[in-house]
Structure formats: structure tokens, C-alpha cells
Subunit: 332 residues, 4 copies
Amino acid sequence: MSAPVTDTTALRAAGFDPAKPEDAIAAVAARVSRWGRWGADDVLGSLNLLTAAKRLEGAACVRRGVAFSLSQPFDAEGPQRGWRRRTNPVHTMLDTGREALDGEFPHGLGGADDVIAMPLQCSTQWDGLGHIFDHGRAWNGRAAADVVTSAGDRVTGIETAAAHLAGRGVLLDVGRVLGDERGELPDAYPITADDLEATHAAHGVAVGEGDLVCVRTGQYARTRREGWGGYAGGPAPGLSFTTADWLHDTGIAAVATDTWGVEVRPNEFDDAFQPLHQIAIPHLGLFLGEMWDLDALADDCAADHIHDFFLTAAPLRITGAVGSPVNPIAVK
Amino acid sequence: MSAPVTDTTALRAAGFDPAKPEDAIAAVAARVSRWGRWGADDVLGSLNLLTAAKRLEGAACVRRGVAFSLSQPFDAEGPQRGWRRRTNPVHTMLDTGREALDGEFPHGLGGADDVIAMPLQCSTQWDGLGHIFDHGRAWNGRAAADVVTSAGDRVTGIETAAAHLAGRGVLLDVGRVLGDERGELPDAYPITADDLEATHAAHGVAVGEGDLVCVRTGQYARTRREGWGGYAGGPAPGLSFTTADWLHDTGIAAVATDTWGVEVRPNEFDDAFQPLHQIAIPHLGLFLGEMWDLDALADDCAADHIHDFFLTAAPLRITGAVGSPVNPIAVK
Amino acid sequence: MSAPVTDTTALRAAGFDPAKPEDAIAAVAARVSRWGRWGADDVLGSLNLLTAAKRLEGAACVRRGVAFSLSQPFDAEGPQRGWRRRTNPVHTMLDTGREALDGEFPHGLGGADDVIAMPLQCSTQWDGLGHIFDHGRAWNGRAAADVVTSAGDRVTGIETAAAHLAGRGVLLDVGRVLGDERGELPDAYPITADDLEATHAAHGVAVGEGDLVCVRTGQYARTRREGWGGYAGGPAPGLSFTTADWLHDTGIAAVATDTWGVEVRPNEFDDAFQPLHQIAIPHLGLFLGEMWDLDALADDCAADHIHDFFLTAAPLRITGAVGSPVNPIAVK
Amino acid sequence: MSAPVTDTTALRAAGFDPAKPEDAIAAVAARVSRWGRWGADDVLGSLNLLTAAKRLEGAACVRRGVAFSLSQPFDAEGPQRGWRRRTNPVHTMLDTGREALDGEFPHGLGGADDVIAMPLQCSTQWDGLGHIFDHGRAWNGRAAADVVTSAGDRVTGIETAAAHLAGRGVLLDVGRVLGDERGELPDAYPITADDLEATHAAHGVAVGEGDLVCVRTGQYARTRREGWGGYAGGPAPGLSFTTADWLHDTGIAAVATDTWGVEVRPNEFDDAFQPLHQIAIPHLGLFLGEMWDLDALADDCAADHIHDFFLTAAPLRITGAVGSPVNPIAVK
């Protein structure tokens, strides 16, 4: 099977040269960067746009009381293959039901306990603001070397966002609107701003400032059917680099996809690695959600034609973490 | 400093002999056990009581759009001291901002990544239904040895509850109503059903079927001030064994406290270890939340006299886990 | 590339039916089992054969004072692919030289520290006596369920062997004697007792009671050249099931190979998994060494025609472990 | 119990001011530093002094063939208390004997497997050359920031020493020669060069270039009897800062003690942290062994009056590690 080739039409149409990612990144950063917008001490980035009013709006989306977990499983069957020391989670038991009658505890009590060792990026997760840097600069223009040391992210650790990621969620099911009969986009498909606009128009849902936007490509449905194979980080549909302006102009608070890396893979430039991250995290201060399972939610939205909901996607409060596993809960 | 002694008045008044925990557990289990109530295949236990209607009721509690994280930090400063191989979480970096300019990635991209190794019970957490057994029996009467093996909980793994723990939350600030001028109960104070009733009456809030009840003792506030010292598992205020009937009769879906182990410590019986767990988890099918930080929420509730809220406390979807770290989010 | 097929000639010649591994195992166990030989309380198995006299004999093999590490690397490039939750080791830094000048310590001191998470079987290792069972029986006939619980191996934990694995080592370079021009046997090649005898005859070295025998197939040399690919546990040359008698009759104290699993892979029976382990560990009480790097030592032995040496292969003293990573040191 | 006070007589006698550790370190480094001695590319440091001839000499020390493990246990009962994220090792099972009859494998095979998460410095260990820096300089004068990054020690990783740590071992049982009736030195006792000389004179054993020297203080015997209590890193007997010249002048290849940190604790300067490390590792290129169990070996040496032996102390071949757990084996 030959590797899919990513279409660069949108990239070129936007005036970028696939051979020059560094130039493109610099140009886009110059017009969208939010450094200083919320003061020099800011640690929240685009989460500042997720206001109490927005949470009220989100709570008003709860119409039937039905809840959906948007998390993929955390287990040995995940997509990690050891790249950059990222393994699938290793969950082991300290005690089990097999020891329940060994009499270690009084009055017939038995217990089971467990531990886990995992990369914080192993499955459904948030990228925090200390995860990606642009030429040594982290969110708000800080020197990355000062922010994230071996002790962790001392400024924008994920704990600073612990209470914030609850609000109005919007599903943009691009796979279902623009994909094949199964509702899936092919690998290497770059989702453009036009695609995103066409999708929310088709859904009849508005996207606005402070929203938590979930973009479904359908790749996870395909993966679930066919297995991860040699993943992680292989070809996938995902956001085109050219959506940087859309991410900025809409004023959304965060964006999540059902793919490993949010962006189209391979990336649209000749020699590039996740160039949209380089805009989104350090310049927009945008939380990126990866490897979410949007399928059950998408089925429900397709059935009732309602694509917004109350979304709580709380990262674990790990001091100094640059990302976090998460079990996002959508309530409709 | 002499160790605090737990008052057994409530225990004796309820007709239990402090020397005979096994008899007491058997007697209470006989009258409150919910085995079979939701069929032989049930994996949700009391979460069955958290209905869509209850979630609508919970969403209606969102009045101002203010969000609170109820999670304690996950870091090396936590309460674990190695008991039963439970350590505080060990969070380490795979890459940091110090490496951002090493040129490992193209076009000026830099990144930081991290891993964690932790017991699932190390900090703010849910006990799942596979965590505790009564004489070798797990929730719904299943043989613990069949349910939880070295491969994990093959029946009631925490993933089965992934979408469920969102609904109406109620704070019972027993520390503030019945404790000292700081709003703290002393260690070894057994909270009785009368105390719980007095507290919600003082708050003017109702507790009903399907609610997620948060009981604040104030111990975490004290710990935050004074440090954990030699904890984990030392003296603490907490629920009396005699609250088993209250937990049953109210029909609440889950209960969480700001302490290490929900129950009063030392336990009320002469030689016992967490006897209320032995009722609550295997017999009631009740999720128990431990080491929650209820202080900021409690301050807000005390200020606006409103003690209910929308609570999302989503466990990580770790396949086969018997518990999970969690960052509970309360939205008022 | 089609999968290699394992030749069953030797198996059939020994009177075994490839369709009936269970019968073959029972027959061989009946004639070689050492249960009770060293008393009911024995925890050392064949290590009893490694006597002080043998260690003196080994020390006399030190002729030039040259030392060889027989360990493969412990890092992310290893052979593990997640099978049975076995990952490659994840080694991370707690502090680095990048933080050396941060001034955390007085008088200009800086320090780096590190942690590791790994399966004990991830790279060069010993299988301990609690690693494999035959129909629920562990070494010396003990009930496996009594020996190895979630708390670890409570009887034959690797710590019981901590001081023992030092003695006379013998290299049998079967790859060089019987393999191709590179000194490598093909995958799926079953090494027979005749092969082992032919090899030590060619070397002019004796193998006797209490020796630590290293069998080189050459597969690791091939892997080093070509990469692990989709390993772990794929095709490999290795010991034929029919060598069980040789392992018994020679009275060797332990055997190690340069392969993942000592035995030929695929195994020689139609539907089998490591049947020789089922004899060697529970019945012979034999320590099995896996994934050793014998190449540099083999080159030296080929050059000086001396194939014995002093071998120290000390497992880590991990209480209750059923195996251990090891860095074996051969001194010639 | 009041904390022991470290005697500074030896320090002052050597001309150092307890208030000025930085000056003392600079002065000693100036006269003992071995930077450049073995060329600019050297990664072995003092291990260069452990020659093949020395290994022959060591092998000649094997007189009775008796082996001793010098490792403390690796388990939850160790000395770590979380300082700098150092926990005791967490060893968990992937499968146990309790699952042996579950039929997961064919023909009656059952197996147990395990994993470990641990700091490389949690118990008996070697400090490698990338562990400690002097004003940002690592062994041989390299910039620490270039040597040890988040990817590990890229120059002097412990794997470079994998084959080297086997040779003549010498036990200096200072506890038995100079300590109390139990053979133990009190905490905070600074062992001087005179003490070391008096000890080997009393033993009638020579210490020379390339030796691996084991210094027994007796503290571990006390700890074994009384427990670790609040350790790690509390008071202990150990080498005085003033032994730096002895470590240099003797030309020993490595030194190990039965204590947490080799050096006397508290350190002899008013405000200091392991100042001898700052000389020994970056300037002498000396491997330091910590938390070794020398008691059984010491008993044997006291009985037969022979204090030298063949010592193999092979670090795990963890790529890029700055230290390693080890099970040192002494053969007499």
C-alpha cells in the first residue's frame, strides 16, 4: 500500500510555499499571535474566552440529560509504538480478587488496588500550553527554557487550567458531512476553514467565541474497525495549516479531534512536523484535544440534529504537566 | 501527641458491638444489599440511580457559570508514604523547554512531553466497584476472584462507568456546620446520619435519589495548613459505620469526602479496616470519592447559600481499573 | 515474506507427536523432573549444582583479565511491542545537566537523576523459578497459586538467587559452528542435543555439572543489523524441545541464549507456546537467560579458541520478582 | 532525640573553613582533578585504572569459591521517602500463579510476569559519571548541559561502563575496626584518611591502584535492626570531605559504602550538600557505590582474616543512565 499524499491546494491558495514552512509559520504568527492580550502573567491563553456566560450557555444545551464519554480506552491496545518513548499505558494490579480471601484484612474485607505508568499523551488527552514552542518561545512569548524544565512546567502547568475546561461544546462532524458513505474522511485529507464552515452550516449550529469545538474526521471509527497497525503518527485526516486564521478569528477556546495529532498527516509542507501546533499552542494559547472518541456523540447528533452540548473535559491536576489524559463528558 | 480515640457512642446506639465488626457488617449487609436489583449483569450499581432526569436537574443548578475544580494536586507533596506500594505520583519529562532549541524538529518547532507513574488511588480519586469485596464477593454478589485478576477488573472495570458520573452535586459542609471556628471537624470524629441531616437542613438543600454527595470535613484544609506529616491513612474525621443505612435510604448515586478514606479513622470497631467500604462498594454498588478538595467550593456555597451544582467527575477510561484519578468539576 | 516453518524431524525422531505437546511434556517431565531432589524447601533448583568448587574452576578460567558485558541495551529501541503489556524500558530524567546551573544546590553542585519503568523481561534477563508453571505447579511441585500472588513470588523470588549466579561460563557458538558464513542460524532452526554436542566438540571445550551455558544462535547479530521489526516473539532459532534431556543429563546450572525466548520459534508442536520452558523451569529448576548479547565474547573465543570464562550474571535483588534484568559479565 | 552534630576537626585540620565549602572544593579540585588525563574523549574516568592485570589479580583472590551478594533488597521497605521524586521501587505483577490455571496458554503452561518502576538511585546502586557536576562541568571538564539532557547522558551514559566494573575488591570494615562493640560507627562520624589507613593496616590488606574499595560503616546493620524511619538522606557515618586526596592518591577505581550517600551526613560544612561528590565524580571520574550491604561479607572477612576478593558490580546497561541499580557479587 502506497502512502497517501497530502493535497497542498489549500496551502498554496493561501499563499504558502510547501517548501518553506518556517516562512509560513512566521507570517501566520505575525497576524494571529495573542501574546500580551491578557497581560504578561497570563497562563490561560484562549481559555480566557471561555467565560461564565459561555458556561451558562453550555448548561442551557442540556436538553435530555444524556451523557457521552468522549474518551478512547486507556490500555495496551492503543496507538503508541514507542516513538519518543511514548508507550501505551501499562496498568497493573497491586492486589486482586484472587487475593480477596487470603485474610490480609480483618472481618472478611478484601481489596484490589492498581497502578499505572503512562505518557500523558498516550490516549485521549489535552495538549497544555507548555507542550509546544516556536523558536524557543512558549505561550505569551515566554522563554521555553524558563517555563518547562525537568521539574515540569513551572508557569503554565496543566493545573492552572484545572477548573476551566467546562463549557459549550460544538461537534463539527466533517467526516459525516464531507466524507464517504461511512462518514469518514480519507487519510491525508486536509480540512480547510471552508470545510469547517460548510459543516457547521450543514448542521445548523453556530460556532462562537469561547466554544469548545470537536472536529470529527471519522479516522477513529476506521481505526476501531481495522486496528491501529503501525501507528502512532502515521497518515490521518486533520486540520489544514490554513485553518490557523479560522481558529483565531472564531475565538474558540479549544479544539479537539478524533485523531492522533489534530493536523492533517502527513503535514502539508515538504519537511514539516505539526506546523499548526506551532501557531496554535504558543501563539493562540489554544488547548488541543487529541484522540477523542466522537463517534457515539456524532451518531446522537446526527439523529436529533442538535450539535451543541455541555462539555466538561477536565485534565488531571498534575502539577507541572504539559498535557493530560482526559475523559471528556458531553451532556445533551 | 497521643493518637485520637474514636467515639463509639453512635456505633453502640445503633446496636453494634465494637468488638464484633464482622457481625455488624453482616447485619447491615443483610438489610441494605442491592445485589440483583438491576439484574444479574449489572455493572453500574448505584449509578443506575443517576438518571437523565437527574442530569437535567443538575444542569438547572448552573446559575452563574462559575466552575470549581475539586481536585487536590497530583505531585510529590501528596499524602502517600508507600503503604501497600502506594507512592505519590512520579511525573517526569521526556523533553523540556531546555531542549526546545536543540533543533530536533524542523522549522523551529520545540516540544515538551511527559510521563507519569502512579497508583490510581494516589490522590483525588474514585473507588470503582472492583475495589472492595465482602468475604470474597464483589458487587452484585459476583465472586471477586472471577471479577478482578492480574489482568484487571474484567466485569466492572472503571471504563463501564466512564460516561455516568455527571449529574446534580450536593455539598454537605459538615465541617462548617458542626466543626470548629475554622470549619473543621477533629480527627477521629465519626459523622453520623443525624449530622448529615442537620447539615443539609442548615444549608437548606435537599438530598435525593441519584445525587452525587460531597461531604466536607475540613481535614484537607487542616492538612493544607499543617502538612500531611506521616499520612497516609492516619486519623481523620469521616463517615460513621452507622451511616450505611443513610447511604442506602437516600438513594444517592455516589459520595465523596475531602479525606483519605471516606470513613472515620481510626475506624469505630476495635480491630477493623474500613468496614463501611465493605458495605458501600460490594453491597450498595456505591462509588466512593476520596481526597477531594472541597474548600473553594465550600467557601462559595457559604457565600451564596446555594449548595447544589452541576458536577462532572469523569474517571479516566482505564480498561479494567478498579479506581481512577479524577478532576471533578463543579459548575454553579 | 512467508513465515519460516520449523522443522519437526528431531521432535518426531524423539518419538513425539507434533499434534500432542501435552503428552510430550508429561513424558519428559516424568523422566527429568527434579522435584524433591534438594528437599521440600528448596528454592534454588539447578543452582544447587553450581558449587564453590565450580566457582573456583570458573575463576581459574580468568587468563587475560579481559571483561565482556553480555547485555543488550535497555532503551526504546528494544524488541518489545506491547505484547502482554511488555514495553521497552522507559527511562526518564528527574534532573539534567541543563538544570546544573539553576542554583538548586549550594556551592556550585549540580546533579542529574533518573527513573525507569520497565517489564523485568524487557531486555537481557533471567527467568526466575516463579516465571513458568506446569499445570499449576511451580518449581519443586509447589502450587503456583501459593507461590506467586499479586505480592510477588513469596517463595522462590529472585532475591533467593541473588548471590548464586557466578561461576564457570561456557560459550556454545552454534551459529558459528553450524550456521551460515556470518555465523548465524536461520530463524525457526531447532538446535538439537547433537548440535550442542557437535559445537562443544568443535570448540574443544567440556560442558559439565554446574556450568552456566551460553548458546549463541547469531540471531541477535542479525537483529542488530536489520532491526527488530515487528518483534517480540516472532521466529527465531533456538533450543529444540528435545534438548530437555540434554539440559537434565549434563547437570548444567543455567542456560542463556541471544534470543527472545531460548526455544526455537515457532515452537515445534502445532499449537504450543514455549513447551521447553514448561520442563526447564518448573521441573529442572533451571534459570533461563534470554536476549543476551554474546557476539563480542564469541568473537574473542573464536580468536583465542578458548570458550570458557568466569561468568557473573547477578539478578537485581528485587523482592518477589519472577525474573530480572541483568548485565552478565564474562571475564577471560 | 536531638540530631547528631558532625565533628569538623578533620576538616579544620586540613585547612578548610566549615563556612566556605565552595573555596574548599575549588582548592581540592585544583590539586586532584584528572580532567584530560585519558584524553579529551574519555568516558571511563577512574575505571581506566582498573586494568586487565588488576582483574587477574582479583581472580587470584578466589580461594574458596564462596559468593556474596552485596545488594540491599529492592522493595517497598527501602529508605526512600519521596525526596526529589525518589520513591522505593514499585514492583507489580502482570500475571501470577493465581492465573496459572486460567487456560490462557496451551498444554497446561502457566506463567507469571512482572514490571518495575523505580528511581535508578532507589537502593544499592552506582553513581555514574553523569550524576554530579561542579559549577556546570561534568567529568573531564565537559559542559554538563551538553552531556545530560532530557534524553539522558549522551556521553558518559552508564552503558559505557557496562563491561568494566569487575576486578579486585577490598573491604575496609571501618565499623568493625573503629566502631562500637557491634561494629558500627555512630551517625555523623566523619571517616578520615587516617581511619581508612588504620583499617587496612588492621586488616593486613593492601589498597592499590585500580581496586574497588568497599567501606563498611555499620550503619546498614543498625538500619536493618532499627528500621529506616524517616530516612532518606538523614544522618549517617561516612567519608570526610578530607578523604578526597586519599581517593585520588591511592588510585582506586571506585568506592562504595553501606550508606545512602558515601559521605558523612550531615556534611562537615555549615551549608553544604555532598561536597565530596563534587570532587569525586566530576573531577576524579570516580564511580560511587551507595547503599551496599556489606555485612555478610564483613563477617566472613572477619572470620578468615582475608579482606580482598573478586568483585563484579555490573550496572544495568540502560542507555544514557546517570546511575544504575546493581547487585554486586563478591567471590572469595
